[in-house]
Symmetry: C2
Subunit: 306 residues, 2 copies
């Protein structure tokens, strides 16, 4: 099935206890597109970059089979830039720089060839832009997944709530779920949020795994205990890319299949954090992915072959 | 198989956002004994209380089939007393009062009838007292499980390290594992700690589940997402009681059986936090337990019957 991803394609500069990078390719749509490329071919991308964005980075996306027809290049502007520094525990970070640049007036133009897409992944962006994309699609996709963050809850809550009414799956982290619902218990938070529009809710808990809620059903995907987390940047977006990529590949949006999709999402995230930026994510083969998926299964399996 | 539990039997006074209690029965060995009583009959208890400890609370233990021959009553002294207040998120608490009283000079005397016990559970106590119990057993038990806390790492680390050399399984929480090992990564922490004596390590992560390590094997038991956590007191000890109770019942200390034991431990902890103190733990039936166990299994099961 076809997949359209909308989100940022950007520069990141990252500092962790293990080292620091110059400006490297980053952005929600970058991680989502790369992660989903291991499941589906010709993923469609809508994003915007400035004239400063290297052709080699665009080629990197194309080499992973990503359709960049919807990637706008504003020659006289600069790309979105984020810089952050992770603390020793890797669970918290300081944002050092945020330059919106091309994102400030981003108009998500959809090429005609993108119409009729089956799956839509709305990466973290202004909820107004996310809604515009939904409105510009002539046929409603089979499944719309939206990722957002606390920033939009702080400054654009009403717009976010309007957009949430239009989506099938919301993917946020535990703190964001608490903020959006006003409930500390994630079970209570999930019930409230599923009343806001999305019938399915994913709550990401970072190194503590992820919860999938739908009606009265709940599923828990553990995170893999890792020796070393090198750079958490992009983990949540890689998770989203693995999740929707697997759903699009299998064309099955049942709750049972979403469970598998969440494990594939967790697997993609676990690769991403092993190296800086997209370094690990761009260098996977099918065996890596299946072996990693099996490790997640074995981690919670009572009857293992030991 | 027979089980001996050593630890505190005490008074707790608890305050949570949901209410507060007067002095109620508490203590590590209380929760461990009660939790394990759902798996084995005639669990043996070694502990000490003062003359202020109500006969009705001792009868409560005996009504659950617990052998209290090794429960010393110091008529002219006072029972150990702990008082604490939980914060709104229930993940942190302030200790308001700690009165050691009878625990200050606790000599763990083993009745003759306790010799030859198969399983030994050393609840949180001074590591010197824990070691004395091991030394006083004429035959080494088949399995020795030890629980401890950061307090002993702060003030009695050398004694703790000596005692750790004598045990098979150590049960601590994530912060304690980091403190004991000096490693932030729990995978690295586990490797170091397994080099200190215990061949098996349980790392409890509270609402984020528990990890079981042995050699290169790792298993993850999720925590059940709960609508309401009423009072977390005793959750870790209930977990330990369910864990060793199930192992003693099945007389199987293989890694695969420890996985099941950890789920039963998690199930017991999930009951305990539903009400104040031991209130829920003393009122379970076999159906409750099996239904709860199955909920833990279903939570991570890919192929559920939905």
């Amino acid at each position: 099935m076809s997949l359209l991803t909308v989100g940022s394609v950007a520069f990141d500069a990252i500092e962790t206890p293990f080292g620091k990078t110059d400006k490297i390719i980053g952005g929600a749509a970058t991680y989502i597109s790369l992660a989903s490329s291991y499941f589906i071919k010709e993923g469609k991308l809508v994003a915007v970059v400035g004239g400063d964005f290297p052709k080699s980075d665009i080629k990197l996306l194309e080499d992973h089979g990503i359709n960049t027809e919807g990637l706008q290049i504003k020659e006289n502007e600069k790309s979105f830039f984020w810089s952050g520094k992770y603390h020793n525990d890797m669970n918290s970070r300081d944002t050092l720089v945020t330059e919106l640049n091309v994102l400030e007036n981003f108009d998500p133009i959809l090429p005609d060839s993108y119409q009729g897409v089956d799956f839509l992944m709305l990466g973290n962006l202004a909820p107004t832009v996310q809604r515009t994309v939904i409105e510009r699609l002539e046929k409603r996709p089979k499944l719309i997944v939206l990722d957002t963050m606390n920033f939009w809850m702080d400054i654009m809550l009403d717009e976010l709530l309007q957009t949430l009414k239009l989506v099938d799956v919301l993917s946020i982290n535990d703190e964001e779920a608490r903020q959006l619902s006003g409930e500390y218990s994630l079970v209570k938070a999930a019930k409230k949020i599923m009343g806001m529009g999305p019938k399915t809710l994913i709550i990401k808990k970072g190194e503590h795994g992820a919860l999938l809620f739908q009606n009265d059903n709940v599923f828990f995907a553990p995170a893999l205990p890792l020796e070393e987390v090198f750079d958490p940047t992009g983990a949540g977006d890689s998770f989203a890319g693995g999740f929707i990529g697997y759903l699009a590949k299998t064309n099955d949006i049942s709750f049972n299949n979403m469970k598998k999709a969440i494990i594939y999402g967790s697997a993609m995230a676990s690769f991403t954090v092993e190296k800086f930026g997209t370094e690990r994510l761009v260098n996977l083969d099918e065996d890596d992915l299946e072996i990693r998926f099996q490790r997640f299964i074995d981690l919670v399996q009572l009857e293992a072959k030991i």
